[in-house]
Amino acid sequence: MSETVARPSVRRSGRARQSHVVAHLVLATGGAVMAFPFVWQVIMSLSTNAEVVSVTPVFWPAELRWDNYAVVFDRLPFLDQLKTSVWMTTIRTLAQILFCTLAGYAFARMRFRGSGVLLALVLSILMVPSQVYLLSQYQIIQGLGLLDSLPGLVLPGLFSAFGTFLMRTAFLGMPRELEEAARLDGANPFQVFWRVMLPLARPSISVLAITTVLWSWNELLWPLVVTTYSDEMPLSAGLATLIGDRTTDYPVVMAASLLAMAPVLILFIVLQRRVIDGLASSGMK
């Protein structure tokens, strides 16, 4: 709102308009640099391998080879990996929403002995780099006989300290009146949570969902550690194994990479404001 107030006065001055020209020059150049690798990847994915590795630059392929994308599905365990990625991301996201909203609500609104200690324990994880718990998580999954399986891939990521923190903050900021009214109407605490508070928390739940999807879809180290064979890996780890091949078919690798990124990139472009605002406010990678 303050922006629109400021706009007319600043717009009128010549210097402001001049600075917009400079701004557009800088931002368009910078934006082109940011977007270029994606564009270049699309071009390479439609070229022949000879064109990619040619020492004289080929900036546009002689013929657009869409069949490189078909090869991705034929030659690589791409479909298996895609399925694994989809399952992994879906299960983790739903589980985090369920567990984190429940716990976040209790930490924000319920009184029980030891709540402060439990909360401090959960939040303390946020200060510990993931390497510290990764080794033992691996040993637990190994001990349960869940290496190379979907449950093994998914399990530690069902729970999130960050998500709990996020949801607790969301519930703390909500008015108590609705809750109290529902209680007076005889609703039990779960009904109050489910029917009254959860719908109100939708914006924060979407932030949690977006961060979980992004993290889960792109995550590399955990899948790399708990899976051995490329057809059991999600895409993030599966793509990384392609690169070791001696005879790299670059156009197919590029096509596979683009297909692997596509769901998240499309999600981002569709929900851009929500993603950007959500990640800016959460400040988490």
Partner: protein, 327 residues
């Protein structure tokens, strides 16, 4: 903490204890809302908290404790381990790999941190009142941040190729003979850091942009009336008032840079012969723990990573007083 000064016998009734407990959580909310009726919720809170807390305890809290213990053991070749006290740490401190990987991590962090001033500038341009296409630019800058690191690394790997990569072709245009970026141990980490800078820039731009929104536009109007140049406004209003956001971005950038793994692994490739000279701390952790299968030693590396990040973050908080403005 403050409750420890009280004599526990003075607590007369459970209500008082509950009120005291409640105070510590509610005091964070300014405005002092109406005090809710004092009551406990019986078994309900436990039903709400236990699913999460059990998972967190099993998969996060216990592992942290266990890793600390593991770091003091040596794992046998067929499982089983023996307690060796600080043996892994004394070995690690004498291990040149630690210093190589720490050095690479610092170089990476330094280069990625160069993105912060760039991000301040870009964010301030995006915040110009009435700028058209601002959202479009924002999306372009943010795109690399949401892209899967292993997928986008593929294209960078080709761009950094010594023979047919675009980076060297571009350098060739200005007469520079580019190196074999990813297969030369002196440049590999630089190549990875350039991609790291590219991929994290958008995040800084967005966070700083949110910080810029809190600067009152009247300040710029007043400065404009006083005839202050755009540069002068940037230097005397934007940057000082933005220092809390810059500080936050710096902390996040440094912590995440110290965790470098994905981009390094994907750009260099796991079979790259320069890895021993070009690896990061987390790569060293991964190699010891999951390639060489020395869990005890890897646990010690993990504890060192924890310590290094803790020290660096604490130092930043100490230095904060010198340059971050109170707003």
């Amino acid at each position: 903490m403050t409750t420890s000064t009280h004599d526990p016998r003075v607590v007369a009734s459970p209500e008082v204890a509950a009120a005291r407990q409640g105070r510590s959580t509610r005091s964070r909310r300014p405005g002092g809302q109406r005090r809710p009726p004092l009551r406990r919720d019986g078994v309900w809170p436990w039903l709400f908290v236990l699913p999460l807390f059990t998972g967190v305890a099993v998969f996060y809290l216990w592992p942290i404790v266990n890793t600390a213990y593991l770091s003091m053991t040596r794992s046998g070749p067929f499982g089983g381990s023996t307690f060796i006290g600080f043996g892994n740490f004394t070995e690690l401190v004498a291990d040149p790999q630690l210093y190589t990987s720490l050095g690479n991590t610092l170089v990476y962090t330094g280069i990625v941190a160069l993105g912060i001033p760039i991000a301040v500038y870009v964010a301030s341009l995006l915040n110009l009142p009435g700028l058209r296409f601002a959202q479009f630019y924002r999306v372009l800058f943010f795109l690399p941040y949401v892209a899967m690191p292993t997928a986008i690394a593929m294209v960078w790997r080709v761009m950094f190729n010594g023979d047919f990569g675009l980076v060297n072709r571009a350098l060739g245009v200005v007469g520079v003979d580019g190196p074999y970026w990813v297969s030369d141990s002196s440049t590999a980490i630089v190549a990875v850091a350039i991609v790291g800078l590219w991929s994290s820039l958008g995040f800084s731009v967005i966070v700083l942009g949110a910080g810029l929104k809190t600067i009152p536009p009247e300040l710029y109007e007043a400065a404009e009336l006083d005839g202050a140049s755009t540069w002068r406004q940037f230097r005397s209003i934007t940057v000082p008032l933005l220092t809390p956001s810059i500080f936050f971005v710096t902390i996040i950038t440094v912590i995440s840079s110290f965790q470098l793994f994905d981009l390094l692994y994907a750009i260099l490739g796991s079979a790259n012969p320069v890895l021993p000279q070009s690896m990061s701390l987390v790569y060293l952790f991964y190699r010891e723990g999951f390639v060489n299968n020395d869990k005890g030693y890897a646990a010690a590396v993990a504890m060192v990573i924890f310590l290094v990040i803790g020290v660096v973050t604490a130092l930043q908080f100490r230095m904060q007083r010198r340059w971050v403005q109170d707003v």
